[in-house]
């Protein structure tokens, strides 16, 4: 097993009855990397991640997470892995500080609870009962419980669902901080901008298969693929052409028009374009 790999997956399969949720996924995540699993609802993101977290059993395939098989997690392995689940687990009657402090007791190398509460932006809510928190604040508490043990590897399943734009930006800063400190991060999301903003590499998952794995700016050959050149003919009709050599076409157009080309634009497919193409739209 390569020590530089936090996660190594080969031929992962999982079905619920006739419904195949994960249909043969191969995946490597390097230590210190921020990896985003991007895909529509029902694509198999959560099933994949929960197998890696040791919550679900797989039907087939080889899985190593921090050098161990997550199907039989021991407490030592658990103390190195932080988990932020998709659903919140609510402790209605306890305060934020009580919950975070309690969970800190489970980890040998736990962080300071007050510091963590401050860090996720719940400082003002530390003494509030958790049932009085808003949806976004509950999510911050989830994140606090995910990082209280100072994990080497942090899983985040759709962490920013329900956040307002400002809260998302703050959350992204937190993730960047953790990544800068060396934490390996695996997050699932269906927000393209989130994957683009945070991830070193993005894995696009659709119908239980990993369609592509690449840095966000190279997904779907975004930089090498066909560019679209658009302009207007002298009578004003819009014209456009897809080409692998946009510079040559622009030069030719410039010569044809003898200078400025009216309405000239050169565009590459956006991340959204390639993503929608990959998941089959």
């Amino acid at each position: 097993m390569d020590d530089q790999l936090a996660i190594s997956v080969r031929g992962l399969r999982k079905a619920y009855g006739d419904n195949v949720a994960v249909a043969g996924v191969d995946l490597d995540v390097h230590r210190g990397e921020v990896f985003a699993l991007l895909g529509p609802n029902g694509a198999g993101k959560t099933t994949t991640v929960e197998i890696l977290e040791g919550y679900r059993r797989r039907d087939a395939g080889e899985v190593r997470v921090l050098g161990a098989d997550p199907a039989s997690p021991d407490p030592n392995w658990r103390s190195r892995v932080g988990i932020v689940l998709q659903g919140t687990g609510e402790f209605d009657e306890l305060t934020v500080a009580e919950v975070v402090r309690h969970f800190s007791g489970f980890y040998p190398g736990a962080d300071d609870p007050d510091k963590v509460i401050e860090r996720v932006g719940l400082g003002a809510k530390a003494k509030a009962r958790t049932h009085t928190l808003s949806g976004g604040q509950k999510r911050r508490l989830d994140v606090a419980l995910g990082i209280i043990g100072r994990p080497e590897l942090l899983f985040l399943d759709e962490p920013t669902t329900g956040f307002d734009p400002e809260a998302r930006r703050e959350f992204w800063e937190l993730i960047r901080d953790l990544a800068a400190a060396g934490t390996t991060i695996v997050l699932t999301t269906h927000y393209l901008d989130e994957a683009e903003a945070l991830a070193d590499r993005v894995g696009v998952i659709a119908a239980g298969r990993l369609v592509e794995v690449a840095p966000p700016n190279r997904l779907g050959n975004r930089q090498e693929g066909l560019a679209t050149v658009s302009w207007r003919t002298p009578d004003g009709t819009p014209e456009s052409a897809e080409t692998a050599t946009p510079t040559a076409l622009v030069a030719e157009l410039a010569a044809r028009f003898g200078g400025e080309v009216p309405g000239l634009t050169v565009t590459r497919p956006t991340l959204e374009d390639v993503y929608l193409r990959m998941i089959g739209h």
């Binding site: 020590d3 530089q4 619920y16 230590r31 210190g32 099933t47 929960e50 977290e53 040791g54 919550y55 679900r56 407490p75 030592n76 658990r78 103390s79 190195r80 892995v81 988990i83 689940l85 659903g87 919140t88 687990g89 609510e90 402790f91 209605d92 009657e93 306890l94 009580e98 309690h102 969970f103 007791g105 489970f106 980890y107 040998p108 190398g109 419980l145 043990g149 100072r150 994990p151 080497e152 400190a181 060396g182 934490t183």
Partner: protein, 281 residues
Amino acid sequence: MTTTTKPAAPVAAAPARRLGAGALALRQGRLEITQFLRSRESVVFTMGFPIIMILIFAAIFNDEIAPGVSYTQYFITGMIATGLMTVSFQNLGIWIPIERDRGVLKRYRGTPMPKWVWFAGKVLMVVAIGIAETALLLAVSVALFDLKLPDTAAKWATFGWVAVLGVTACTLCGIAISSLARTARSGSAVVTPVALVLQFISGVFFVFTSLPTWMQQVAALFPLKWMCQGLRSVFLPDSFGGQEPGGSFELGKVALVLAAWCVIGLVLCLTTFRWTTKRDG
């Protein structure tokens, strides 16, 4: 392990200050008790219900059912047994599905907390609340209804082992039955009818020997009837033993049936307990 890209993350080799087993269990117990006491419904239902029932029944029925034994005294011993069942069987059977549905259990499973610690927390809560509740019932009954506390060490000892065996059996059965409920709300729908029917057929509300024979035979299969009978041997005069269906308090049989239910409950717990809901795979 080489940590080239990880300056700050804790390395597994140094288990800094993992809490001991006893400390983990005590904190878990304290947390459970805090949650219970802050939940007004639980406190009112568990602590208040038996007292309210005693006040009502004592006001309605006041006849002697045997020389020197009033119905109220008979009923109070039944309510002490019921209280022990409520604090263990109903309390756990209703609350565990709620916690499972909310994802609290799933969240605990994702931490390095050893599984048994969570069960220990529940047991400590049941024991603490059970003692408080029984003490309250005894105080009210002695003050208002002439209940005589046991006058020999042997009777106190009987009180002790009947309570311990009964609560153990009911705790295990409560944990086991919690797996039958599919959602948070159905816990109470599953548990309450069982508890209520047992109260009617086990000699809590009615003098046991006045019930139809077949009903007595059904009740004799379950723990509550034997808990009531054991407690009657503690609080009612020895002469009342002759009024019992077997012609005596049959303490040997009480111990045997309750111990059998401990075993049955334990087996059911070990084979059926779930940390996640069914839809969670």
